[in-house]
């Protein structure tokens, strides 16, 4: 079974909480988490609605394996219409909250409407209550977490909350759970804030069970864990260096977008890499990295827990930051560091703490600061505009100040909080915004990794690496090596990665497991646990169905073929150094083939035959 087959519907306007049965027909088609919640969202809201209005809904959702002992099975997603992009948004998070929600007996919570004043949702097994949160409003994620733990007298309460950034209108505000795990992208936190919903606190003690074939489940999950342990990436690279294992690798292949994408290699990369995080600092002889950490049930444990040097300028007079907390992942280190030209590891770590503490996406934040720095460099943005902030590339002081202002929603931070697309448009240089569909792209330059260009251009939630991580094939050679500079075969590669990822994101597992697992490794785990018959082909088909559902939502929201593109810089300014020197991203060579493979019209619309084939209706 693994689904609890129960949904909690929370109407914030009316102040009601109502349990209802999960639509199991849909679950058989869309699994859970990303896919199933997208189905609910598409069925329940007008795709043209204002994302920050009461008409939008916010769905917190687990997958069928969430809460089981399958490795990495602790994931949950937040699905809504995203305010940064206007597209469907699905942000996936680890930590422990998802499993707790499942343990409390719920597959999904659907929030609708808007509360009159701040509230939080308290869930203890079957009981769910909307409670006032006036005292929590205006508090950081960390303060809110502590206050709720104290209030409920329960150290094991798991909490997801927004920080001040969301409350102040930051469009890439995150929902942070367990202090430093985040449903980070696309501004799902801003939607939560628009609903006057501060936090969700969950305690579940019912357990996750009722497996279809328990013995087979234990057997298949054990075999799958062995694969993770034996893989060089999931068994060694990720636990040792975290995703930061990539900083030096991507720099070497010349695909590291630097100083707002004006270069593809960063001379400071070494200093902010996963390797550097492990080396004792010259100042206090302690490494930045304190330990690695696993999310619920994760046998990879790529998580970074870091400690900043107490003497570092960022925290020397702020003892509240002297303890360990969530450290830099690769994308964050890239956005906060490489993209802004800052190579001070502890400054990046501090900025990352702030992103966690007040709930904002470090990718969009860092990339927006990078864009602002380029505007500042050419004089389009001045000290008068920034309130005195000298936004020079490479300035750690500017980065951390910008982070503080954006986290609190003060001064120029309010403008930074709207993302680079709006900022660059306002200051007259839309070409400086490294975004697709309004969302900043992350740490892989499409000029040096061609497949990532198509990935960004076609991603349903705006530019993102987590929709089809072709880096795995193009750079790491998993499952097969392809040439990062070639465009041939990339349309098919991207499509396959997109569909596989959509399935994995809908099961409750972490996409990092796919460095070692194929769908053929995942299917037996799902099949042993769940109702229905699950094999790799069915999962792939479910993934494709989910992808098309999301695409149709976006089409209905008003997106067209012209939005499937990349920032001009990626298409016209050749890479200046490294293996990709002289290259631009050749999107035009990949996109039509991609549409064709998808079974879409030349305008990027799923054909009637495709819709029929996938059971999306005639």
């Amino acid at each position: 079974m693994a689904w609890t087959e129960k949904i909690l519907r929370v109407n914030l306007t009316q102040g009601t909480v109502t349990p209802e049965p999960l639509n199991m027909d849909w679950a058989m088609q869309y699994l859970g988490q990303r896919g199933l919640a997208s189905k609910y969202l598409a069925a329940e809201i007008d795709p043209k609605c204002d994302p920050l209005s009461a008409d939008n809904k916010l769905i917190m959702t687990t997958g069928p394996l969430t809460g089981t002992s399958a490795s990495t099975a602790g994931r949950y997603s937040v699905v809504t219409k995203g305010p940064l992009t206007g597209a469907i948004a699905c942000s996936n998070s680890g930590g422990f909250l998802g499993a707790e929600l499942k343990n409390a007996g719920w597959d999904m919570i659907i929030f609708e409407g808007r509360a009159k004043s701040p509230v939080y949702l308290y869930v203890e097994n079957e009981t769910a209550e909307i409670r006032p949160a006036d005292a929590l409003w205006g508090r950081t994620v960390w303060e809110t977490d502590a206050m709720l733990h104290r209030k409920h007298q329960d150290p094991l309460l798991r909490i997801a909350t927004i920080g001040r950034a969301a409350e102040k209108g930051c469009l890439y505000a995150a929902i942070v759970n367990d202090l430093h795990r985040a449903a980070g992208r696309s501004g799902v936190g801003a939607v939560m804030a628009s609903k006057n919903l501060k936090a969700v606190a969950v305690r579940g003690t019912r357990g996750v069970g009722n497996l279809k074939d328990p013995a087979r489940f234990l057997q298949s999950t054990a075999a799958a864990k062995k694969l993770l342990a034996e893989s060089g990436v999931t068994g060694k690279g990720l636990p040792t260096f975290g995703t930061q294992v990539l900083m030096n690798v991507i720099n070497e292949v010349g695909a590291l977008p630097t100083r707002n994408g004006s270069a593809v290699q960063f001379d400071g990369a070494r200093d902010i890499s996963g390797e550097a995080m492990r080396e004792p600092r010259k100042t206090d002889h302690r490494p930045n990295l304190t330990t690695n950490a696993g999310c619920f049930a994760c046998t990879i444990a790529c998580g970074r827990i870091s400690t900043v040097d107490r003497g570092h300028f960022t925290i020397s007079n702020k003892p509240e930051y002297w303890g360990a907390s969530g450290g830099l992942e690769y994308e964050a280190a890239w956005a906060l560091g490489t993209d802004t030209g800052v190579s001070d590891l502890d400054a990046l770590t501090y900025a990352n703490f702030l992103c966690n503490e007040d709930g904002m996406d470090p990718i969009s934040f860092g990339a927006t600061v990078a864009a602002a720095m380029e505007l500042y460099q050419i004089g389009a943005l001045t000290k008068t505009d920034t309130g005195g902030l000298e936004l020079n590339f490479g300035s750690a002081e500017a980065l951390v100040r910008a982070a503080e202002l954006t986290a609190k929603g003060e001064g120029f931070g309010l403008e930074l909080g709207l993302g680079s697309k709006r900022l660059c448009a306002k200051y007259g240089h839309p070409e400086f915004s490294m975004t697709v569909k309004g969302q900043e792209f992350p740490a892989y330059d499409p000029r040096g990794i061609q497949g990532m260009g198509l990935t960004y251009a076609t991603s349903n939630r705006g530019a993102c690496h987590l929709r089809s991580y072709t880096v795995s094939s193009e750079i790491l050679g998993l499952p097969v090596k392809t040439d990062p500079l070639a465009t041939e075969g990339k349309a098919e590669l991207v499509k396959t990665f997109q569909d596989v990822t959509a399935a994995v994101d809908s099961i409750g597992l972490c996409v990092f497991s796919t460095f070692a697992w194929s769908l053929a490794d995942i299917a037996p785990q799902l099949d042993a646990a769940c109702k229905g018959e699950w094999n790799a082909a069915r999962l792939l088909e479910a993934g494709e169905r989910i992808w098309n559902l999301e695409r149709e939502f976006n089409n209905a929201a008003g997106f067209t073929k012209k939005d499937d593109t990349l920032p001009e810089r990626m298409l016209k300014e050749p890479a200046g150094t490294g293996p990709a020197k002289g290259k631009v991203n050749n999107l035009a060579a990949m996109l039509p083939e991609y549409y064709k493979l998808r079974g879409w019209t030349e305008e990027g619309v799923p054909t009637a035959a495709t819709r029929r084939r996938l059971g999306l209706g005639a």
Binding site: G207, T291, C295, S325
Partner: protein, 154 residues
């Protein structure tokens, strides 16, 4: 030679696989809330500490039980709860100075680590080797058991 659980906390990543395996064996569901082994998180210190019963020689849970519902398993050295005898009075839960015997509100009896009859699931499930099952004299267990007894007596 009796064996005992030996925990190398510095290897723990806090993934809770041990809690999942333990609760599955004890309750038939994956339910960390009902696990007999618990991982405590020291957030500010960046550290995790798996923690469970040391099966101490002066087992106060066993001695205070008014209905002999906790017995010593001579084969393993584990102090085991006899489900059919436990009346749920909870005296053991306040007597155990280590806090490792807990009341299970769903089953209305107490539960504690029984070392799975000599083949502990937590050990098998730990991906980093942070929980080991070793000969008692290798682990300093005899010292620890004595210490646990002394704390109460002296």
């Amino acid at each position: 030679m009796l064996k005992s659980l030996h925990i190398e906390a510095e290897k723990c990543t806090g993934c809770l696989q041990c809690e999942l395996a333990c609760s599955y064996r004890g309750e038939g569901v994956f339910n960390p809330a009902k696990s007999r082994i618990r991982v405590f998180t020291f957030h500010d210190e960046g550290r995790f500490a798996p923690y469970t019963c040391t099966q101490c020689a002066e087992a106060w849970c066993l001695h205070v039980c008014p209905v002999e519902a906790i017995i010593d398993n001579p084969a393993t050295g584990a102090k085991e709860v006899v489900a059919g005898r436990c009346v749920g009075c909870k005296v053991c839960t306040i007597a155990c100075p280590f806090g490792t015997i807990n009341y299970n509100q769903d089953r209305k009896i107490v539960h504690k680590c029984d070392m799975c009859g000599g083949d502990p699931e937590c050990v098998k499930s730990c991906p980093t080797g942070a929980i080991l099952f070793l000969d008692a004299d290798q682990t300093g267990l005899s010292r620890m058991r004595k210490y646990a007894g002394q704390q109460i007596h002296s």
